[in-house]
C-alpha cells in the first residue's frame, strides 16, 4: 500500500486532485483496483466507452426506426436487444424506448437522482439534473414543456416516465413531414438530444 503508482490507475492528463473529495475518490478507485473488484484496464475501457457516447447514437437508432418499420416494432418491444443490431449495448440496464404519436407525448425524468442512458447518449444536460426540472416535470409537465417551447394541444396525452430503478429511457420522436426523400444519415441529423428526452417534440426545424 506504500508504493502507489498513480500512472497505473489514473488518466495521465488529469491534474493532481486538490479537494478532499477528489482525494477520497482517487483513494477509493485505487482500493477497488488493488482489491481486485475491477481492473485498471476495465476502468480505461469504461471511460473510453463513455467518451464515445453521444446523442448521435440515439439519433442513429431513431433514423433506423423511421425507415424500417420492422426494426421500429422490435425497438419498442425490446429496445435493449434491438439496439445491439446497431452495435450498442446498455446491459445490464434495461433500455426502453417510448414512442411519440399524434396523441401521445413522452418525457423522461429521474426524480430520485438523475438516471440517464449515459453510456449511449453521453452526459445528461445540466437542467436534467436540476431539482427544478426533476420536481416540476412530474407535477406540472405541460407547464415545464411549454417553457421548453413544447405547446401540447388538449388531445395529446402526456406520459411522464420516472426512471426510478433499472430501466433507462429514450423517446422515439415523430418523423417530421417533408422528409420522404432523405437518407438515413440525413434523417439522423434532424434528431436533437432534447427530442430524445422529450423536451422537444417538433423536429421540422432542421428539415432542408
Amino acid at each position: 500500500m506504500t508504493d502507489h503508482d498513480h500512472s497505473r490507475t489514473f488518466q495521465p492528463d488529469h491534474p493532481e486532485p486538490r479537494s478532499e473529495a477528489a482525494l477520497i475518490g482517487l483513494a477509493l478507485r485505487e482500493l477497488l483496483i488493488e482489491g481486485g473488484v475491477y481492473t485498471a484496464e476495465e476502468e480505461q475501457a469504461m471511460i473510453a466507452s463513455m467518451q464515445g457516447a453521444a446523442p448521435e447514437n440515439g439519433a442513429k437508432i431513431v433514423a433506423r426506426a423511421w425507415t424500417d418499420s420492422a426494426f421500429r416494432q422490435r425497438l419498442l418491444d425490446n429496445a435493449a436487444e434491438t439496439i445491439k443490431e446497431l452495435g450498442f449495448d446498455l446491459s445490464p440496464l434495461e433500455f426502453t424506448v417510448m414512442e411519440n404519436t399524434d396523441t401521445v407525448h413522452n418525457v423522461i425524468v429521474c426524480t430520485l437522482c438523475s438516471c440517464y442512458p449515459r453510456t449511449l447518449l453521453g452526459m445528461s444536460p445540466a437542467w436534467y439534473k436540476s431539482k427544478n426540472y426533476r420536481a416540476r416535470v412530474v407535477r406540472e409537465p405541460r407547464a415545464v414543456l411549454a417553457e421548453f417551447g413544447v405547446e401540447l394541444p388538449q388531445q395529446v396525452e402526456v406520459r411522464v416516465h420516472d426512471s426510478t430503478a433499472e430501466l433507462r429511457y429514450m423517446v422515439l420522436p415523430q418523423r417530421p413531414s417533408g422528409t420522404d426523400g432523405l437518407s438515413e444519415p440525413d434523417l439522423a441529423a434532424l434528431v436533437t438530444r432534447d427530442s430524445l428526452i422529450g423536451t422537444q417534440r417538433d423536429l421540422r426545424g432542421k428539415v432542408p
Binding site: 407535477r139 405541460r142 416516465h161 420516472d162 426510478t164 430503478a165
Partner: protein, 95 residues
C-alpha cells in the same frame, strides 16, 4: 419459479411506507393506485444493496398512474399519465 405475481393491466396499490434504508419509491407515489404497464424482469432490491447484493432478486414492474390521482389540483388534461418502476414487494392488488 419467477412467474410474475401481477399481469399487464392489473390494478395495484403502491405501499405507503418509508423504511429507514435507501429505497427507490418516491414519496409522491406511495399509497397510489395504478395499473401494471409492463413486467420488467427480476432485479436486485435497492433496499438490500447497501448491506449486501440486492438478493433475493424481485420482479420489477412499470406502473401507470393517472396524473389527476397523483396531484391535487393537477393542471393538465385528465388523460395525462405518469409511469414509474416499482418492485413486487412494494405492490398489492387493488380493487
Amino acid at each position: 419459479m419467477n412467474v410474475p405475481r401481477f399481469i399487464v393491466g392489473q390494478r395495484v396499490r403502491i405501499a405507503d411506507r418509508t423504511p429507514p434504508v435507501h429505497h427507490r419509491v418516491p414519496s409522491y407515489a406511495k399509497g397510489k393506485v395504478g395499473i401494471i404497464e409492463r413486467v420488467c424482469g427480476m432485479h436486485g432490491q435497492p433496499e438490500r444493496f447497501v448491506p449486501g447484493d440486492g438478493k433475493p432478486f424481485k420482479q420489477l414492474y412499470r406502473v401507470r398512474i393517472p396524473q389527476t390521482d397523483l396531484w391535487r389540483g393537477y393542471k393538465g388534461v385528465p388523460g395525462d399519465k405518469l409511469e414509474i418502476e416499482i418492485f413486487d414487494h412494494w405492490l398489492e392488488p387493488a380493487e
